[in-house]
């Protein structure tokens, strides 16, 4: 039995244009316990803000921080889910 590490990635089709985005807000801190569906962060591409939610329950490790630039497909965090 082992814990699984899941990636929290920006969906590759989240916005249309080929532009970078920025993480405008992290709603949880590094090492926080998150539940599936929790609102994790907000990213802004062009002028539209998108919500990024937790795909699984577990412990969050932030990879890309607030104000950092990101591309579609980028991994912004990982969530380590508890062992079965």
């Amino acid at each position: 039995m082992s814990s699984a590490v899941h990636q929290v990635a920006i969906p590759v089709d989240l916005w249309e244009e080929e532009v970078e985005a920025v993480i405008t807000t992290w709603f949880v801190s590094d090492a926080a316990q998150v539940d599936k569906g929790d609102l994790l962060a907000e990213v802004m591409a062009e002028k539209i803000q998108f919500e990024i939610v937790a795909p699984v329950t577990g412990t969050l490790a932030i990879v890309k921080h607030q104000d950092q630039l990101i591309d579609k497909g980028d991994v912004i965090a990982t969530i380590t889910s508890a062992p079965d």
Partner: protein, 328 residues
């Protein structure tokens, strides 16, 4: 009275300058604001409300105006300022916040004042009508020539100031023309959900003045309606209301994601770009030759480029000069 070929060219030329100015300002506005759109950044910070698509309203009306006539405008003023003859260099410098700007940088894009051509604009919806009434009153009292024109949007027609100003102008029979630029949107709120009547032109009847609805965003049609209204005012016959259908091709402000627009609306509007439509019509009727067209476009580009260059190369005033001009 329909516009003469010269007047048509005048209108077309000013629409070209206006649109080129807006497109240039839009590019510069985005400098420093990508990839992260933070409106505080860049050489032109703050809000920016562009007039792309609404040029016919400005030129159709201002074609009849002289320097001595007074215009009050709103947060979306560039096309009207250009049509009224505001100094483009000083206007650009003001938008950049430079010392050589119309107000030395104190006003910015929403507060452009040019006393030489009697143009001013302001940011509170509906509050330019009262001052236009006052300017008209002043001319009448002093027996001085000149009419006043107040430009505003269809959203402003729901402000108290609209109703009071029209009533006052009618009661005192003042030489003022109220011009609605109906672009169908008040930020995200569609006109139908905010306005009790289909056409604001009918509201003129409540204030005993002529109200004319001008559809189609067509400079010539606007020219004709404006000519009649301004003629009435000059002849001492009192105020009028013009309700002009136009389109806002950009967002309410730069940064507006425009999610509220129905699908396809933007593309449909872009296909009806009034400048392209007018260009085609003028070439077809022979009022504009191909070579004149090229010349006008080159002139427009030169005028805009010079204004922008002037703005970029000008200095900022000292920060402490923010304390100046609070009082006379």
């Amino acid at each position: 009275m329909n516009p003469t070929p010269e007047q048509k060219q005048w209108m077309y030329r000013h629409m070209l300058v206006s649109r080129l100015f807006e497109e240039t300002i839009e590019k510069i506005y985005l400098e420093g604001k990508t990839p992260v759109f933070n409106m505080a950044n860049g050489p032109i910070p703050g809000e920016m409300h562009l007039s792309n698509g609404q040029e016919p309203c400005a030129v159709g009306v201002c074609a009849h105006l002289n320097k001595e006539d007074v215009v009050t405008a709103t947060h979306r003023p560039h096309h009207q300022a250009i049509a009224k003859g505001v100094d483009l260099k000083k206007m650009a410098a003001e938008i950049f916040g430079k010392e050589t700007g119309l107000s030395g940088g104190r006003g910015g894009h929403m507060h452009l004042f040019d006393a030489d051509v009697n143009f001013s604009c302001s940011g509170i919806v509906g509050q330019g009508l009262g001052p236009a009434v006052g300017a008209a009153l002043s001319r009448k009292m002093q027996n001085k020539a000149g009419v006043a024109v107040s430009f505003f949007g269809e959203g402003a027609a729901n402000q108290g100031a609209f109703h009071e100003s029209l009533n006052l102008a009618a009661v005192w029979k003042l030489p003022v023309i109220f011009v609605i630029e109906d672009n169908a949107w008040g930020i995200s709120v569609a006109k139908e959900t905010a306005t009790a009547v289909d056409r604001n032109a009918v509201r003129a009847a409540a204030y005993d003045m002529p109200g004319v609805y001008v559809p189609g965003n067509d400079p010539d049609a606007i020219f004709v309606a404006a000519g009649e209204a301004i003629g009435r005012a000059r002849a001492g016959e009192g105020p009028s209301l013009l309700d002009i259908e136009t389109y806002r091709l950009a967002g309410h402000f730069m940064g507006d994601a425009e999610a509220y627009r129905p699908e396809g609306e933007k593309e449909d509007l872009l296909s009806k770009d009034p400048i392209l439509v007018y260009e085609k019509a003028l070439l077809a009727s022979g009022d504009l030759s191909d070579s004149d067209n090229s010349d006008l476009k080159e002139c427009a580009k030169r005028e805009v480029d010079e204004a922008i260059q002037f703005a970029r190369e000008s200095q900022f005033a000292s920060p402490e000069s923010a304390l100046d001009h609070v009082f006379a």
